[in-house]
Structures are given as C-alpha cells and as structure tokens.
Symmetry: C2
Subunit: 71 residues, 2 copies
C-alpha cells in the first residue's frame, strides 16, 4: 500500500471533508481517504501509486482545488 | 408576510448554506429562507411572526449557532 498527501484549497467545514472524502474515495484503486481540514491536506491510500491527475479531477468534482503534493 | 433576520455563527461554505436553508425551511410556517454567507445572517420569511426558539432549534439541528437578531 502507498499513501500520498496533497494540498487542497477551499475546504472550510465538515461538509467539505465529506464531499472530498466521497469523491476521492470513488477513484478506482483508492482504499482510504483522510482529510486534514486545518492542515488543508488530503491523504490518499491506495494499493498502487495513484495517478495525481485522477485525484485532482476528483477533488475538482467535489468543488475544491488540488494545489500540489504536500510534505 | 413577515421577515426576521438572525445572526448565525459558523457558516463557512455553500454546504453550510444548504444545510441551514434545508433545516430552517422545514419549520412550520416558514415560506422562505435566505442565507447571507459573508454577512453571517439568515433571513426567514413567514406568514406569521416566527417563534425565535423554533428557528434557533433548526439552526442548531443544522450544526450552527443562532447568536441573536440582526439588523
């Protein structure tokens, strides 16, 4: 299993956390999503390394912006 | 028809607006709900003057805090 942490802008509340978790969780291969609201990051766990573009599109679908890798 | 505007704390995004609009809109007698996110207010329209406690409980049910009348 691998994890990658991304910086995501625009998340402000628990509803935002739920929206991002749901959308990113739908991406094939993703096994877990952990959103850090105050840290403005999303950590994605997957069996294989994820294509960042797929994660980016899911974040945008939820209404937020993936601004890059974090940490 | 009467309207009353309340100060509501904790709303940060469109999801918050939707949650408050939905909950307050369920209160019997309410005919319209208008949330001003940046102004942190909720304006409630109703046929008869509303009981503030009923509005307060709906706001709390949505997860926010009615802090008083506004304007």
């Amino acid at each position: 299993m691998t994890t990658a942490t991304y910086a995501v802008a625009g998340m402000t509340c628990g509803h935002c956390v739920s929206a991002v978790t749901a959308e990113v969780g739908k991406v094939p291969g993703v096994t877990a999503v952990d959103v850090d609201l105050s840290g403005e990051t999303v950590t994605v766990s997957s069996e294989q390394a994820m294509d960042e573009q797929a994660v980016r599109e899911a974040v945008e679908e939820a209404g937020y912006t993936l601004t890059g890798r974090s940490g």
